[in-house]
């Protein structure tokens, strides 16, 4: 990186003030100022390689016959390719694994656990942004502050209540818990988005005689679609990939437990059966991966809009 004297742009056109550089000029001067060098490219390539290779290894393992997996490394597959779907067959439908049942559970858990909190959070965010009532600011700060509560703090008392209600070990507890835990962040995000909507728009609707419910559905909802999409992707990934909430409230029964619980269990009890673990891991991650690939744009926007849940 040599120190070249800056291009004397200002001198050429003193009258018009600082001239915008053309694209070509920008790129040319960038080349000088950026960290770009063979080294930079090299480091980037190595990182990308390191980040991809573990997943690739497991993917290849999942399509190799069980005997080969235990006796040779997956990298030998490139010189000695073998292909089988037996691992997937066993992991999905085998009597001792039965991932297909848990796959259904994961879907059944995820859909309401995404729909319910988003709906409720939208309403609450609207109230905090556009309805005037006493104690509103205080209440909003309280909801915001609840974001930091680690889930661990809430699990046992909540479980006790579910047991008292006779709902323990049913889908309801998982749905309700996920919905509750998602609310503070969702309300905070939606509130941020709603505040950005011009006052005049809402006021105009109000002068037209629209009540809050109508304003919410006809004026705000259409503008909030990107925010809702972002949080939907986000919440779906969170719920699908969650282990703690599912383990606590659904237990390990095939009636309710999702894929993550089964996979963690399999890793504990049959930690050396790589033909099952690799295929199982891919069954568990294929759906979030698809959602992620299709919704990446929204997801990234959601991330940038205000932190993440943890």
């Amino acid at each position: 990186m040599t120190t070249t004297p800056p291009v004397p742009v200002m001198v050429e056109q003193p009258v018009k003030g600082p001239r915008k550089l053309t694209k070509a000029e920008l790129r040319a001067s960038e080349a000088k100022t950026k960290l770009s060098s063979p080294w930079a490219t090299g480091i980037a390539l190595v990182m990308a390689f390191l980040w991809t290779i573990p997943t690739l290894g497991l993917l290849i393992t999942s399509i190799r016959p069980q005997a080969s997996i235990q006796t040779s490394g997956w990298w030998t597959w490139f010189t000695n390719p073998e292909f089988t779907l037996e691992n997937y067959d066993e992991v999905l439908f085998g009597s001792s694994t039965g991932f297909s049942t848990y796959f259904v559970n994961s879907i059944v858990i995820a859909i309401p656990a995404v729909v319910i909190p988003i709906t409720i959070a939208l309403l609450a965010a609207y109230a905090f942004a556009w309805i005037d009532f006493r104690g509103r600011d205080l209440l909003f700060v309280a909801v915001f502050a609840l974001q930091i509560v680690p889930l661990q703090v809430t699990l046992i008392p909540l479980l006790t209540i579910y047991v008292d209600l006779g709902l323990a070990g049913s889908f309801w507890t998982v749905w309700l818990s996920h919905s509750i835990f998602a609310l503070p962040l969702a309300i905070f995000l939606f509130h941020n988005f709603m505040k950005d909507i011009p006052r005049s728009l809402v006021e105009a609707a109000r002068v037209d005689g629209a009540g809050h419910v109508r304003i919410f559905f006809t004026v705000l909802m259409p503008l909030l679609v990107p925010a809702i999409a972002a949080f939907t992707v986000f919440q779906f990934l969170w719920v699908w990939n969650d282990l703690l909430v599912a383990l606590t409230f659904a237990g390990g029964t095939p009636n309710v437990a999702p894929l993550t619980v089964r996979l963690a269990d399999l890793s504990g009890t049959r930690g050396q059966d790589w033909h099952l673990l690799s295929a199982g891991a891919f069954v568990a991650l294929i759906v979030p991966l698809m959602v992620f690939l299709f919704g990446q744009r929204f997801f990234v926007r959601g991330l940038l809009a205000g932190g993440v849940k943890g």
Partner: protein
């Protein structure tokens, strides 16, 4: 994130009479829509009568609050009637076949939509709707759920951390032990190891993820194929920590030196002429190898947020610096980093919090054995495997207490940086 705005909510002050469906202008000149609404209402209404539906909805919401409070109090007193548990028909709590499960799911979503619809329709009446019913309809569900699911449990857990093994809500078996649980945590060697590990996780994972994320964001910024190269790093974000744990456990897989290796890490060692190494078993370095997994997941997140922040740096600043002869690393050090300071902070705090609370990786890879346990994992072990509720609660409280200064720091820094701007 706009830290300062959080505490300063702008207050739109709607004219109350407008909320009631009757605009003030209507007395002098009647707008079109008001005429329409009047055609359905009695023609000479001075004030429309209060909507019965809205008030019913408001009262119903209050009843829900009462129910939540009753549940909490009854749960504390250990006095929830047994019969309450028996009111559910079987299909509500037990579903075995996929048909039953999906049926229950559609029932739940349908029920939810129906309840919300009734609630909203009833407060959208053409008659006069009191403001409190509207407020209740919009934030009532939130307040009820947060009270039941976060506020009460939080307080209960704090109380539990001063009680013994048994739940403090059980009047016959509970015992108060003062600070004994915390003393145990900080003096017994097994728990000291847990705390030490947590400290290493929290210090190391966010910093390395932040560093690597920043490095990568700068390196691939405005290069060819930027989207793809970023996607590769970002992908682990979509993978659950359980699956990530398995992916990496396979990388670390150990076979005796006499056998062919099947784990990549050990194969690399063998290629280098070294002996294979028990990455997951060898104390104390195994904790570091678990942290690698967290870094692998979180670098993508750091990179994405930082990359967006870098792209948002105004061209003027870069141009000005360039005119001053700043190049290469100087640009990075004196322009890029200071400009994205708020983003760096947000990423650091977020990853720290995730790291603190995450127990999936440890649970999947070692189950907390071989001295790798962290607070979040030990909480689970104590609460749900040892059934020592007092100690479990104390661990959860420790987690909570560690989180507070991190958050406070973030909010203060964000407010500072906004004031400067």
């Amino acid at each position: 994130m706009r830290g300062r705005d959080l505490f300063k909510v702008p207050a739109p002050r709607p004219n109350r009479t407008q909320l009631l469906g009757v605009t003030q202008v209507s007395s002098t000149q009647t707008p079109e829509h008001v005429k329409k609404s009047r055609s359905t209402a009695p023609p000479v209404s001075k004030r429309p009568s209060i909507s019965v539906g809205a008030v019913t909805a408001g009262v119903a919401m209050l009843l829900v609050f009462a129910l939540v409070l009753y549940l909490i109090v009854a749960s504390i007193l250990g006095a929830v009637p047994e019969s309450l548990a028996d009111i559910w028909p079987d299909f509500v709590v037990v579903s075995q076949t996929p048909v039953e499960k999906f049926g229950l799911m559609f029932l739940a979503v349908g029920l939810f939509v129906a309840v919300m619809a009734v609630l909203l329709i009833s407060v959208d009446s053409r008659k006069r709707v009191p403001n409190w019913t509207v407020v209740l309809a919009f934030i009532g569900p939130t307040v009820a759920m947060l009270t039941l699911g976060l506020l009460y449990p939080m307080i209960s857990t704090f109380v539990q951390s001063f009680a013994g093994r048994q739940p403090w809500t059980d009047p016959e078996r509970r015992e108060w032990v003062g600070f004994d649980n915390f003393t145990t945590l900080f003096t017994e060697s097994t728990f000291q190891i847990v705390l030490r590990n947590t400290l290493v996780w929290v210090l190391l994972a966010p910093l390395v993820a932040l560093g690597l994320g920043l490095l990568y964001a700068v390196l691939v910024d405005r290069t060819r194929g930027e989207a793809v190269s970023k996607g590769l790093i970002f992908l682990p974000m979509a993978i659950s920590m359980v699956a990530s744990g398995i992916i990496w456990k396979f990388v670390y897989e150990y076979k005796d030196a006499s056998l062919p290796q099947i784990g990549l890490a050990n194969q690399v060692l063998v290629w280098l002429g070294l002996d294979p190494y028990q990455f997951i078993l060898e104390i104390p370095w195994n904790t570091l190898f678990l942290i690698v997994v967290m870094i692998w997941i979180q670098t993508g997140f750091a990179m994405t947020v930082l990359s967006a922040a870098i792209k948002a740096i105004p061209d003027d600043i870069i141009e000005a610096a360039r005119l001053d002869g700043v190049t290469g690393f100087g640009m990075f050090r004196y322009v890029t980093v200071p400009s994205i300071r708020p983003a760096l902070l947000v990423v650091w705090v977020t990853v720290t919090m995730t790291t603190l609370k995450a127990f999936d990786i440890v649970r999947t890879m070692t189950g907390g054995n071989f001295q790798t346990s962290v607070v979040a994992n030990e909480f689970y072990t104590q609460s749900f495997q040892q059934f020592n509720f007092g100690l479990g609660a104390a661990l959860a409280v420790v987690l909570f207490i560690i989180v507070i200064p991190v958050i406070t720091y973030q909010v203060r820094q964000l407010r500072l940086s906004e004031e400067i701007r």
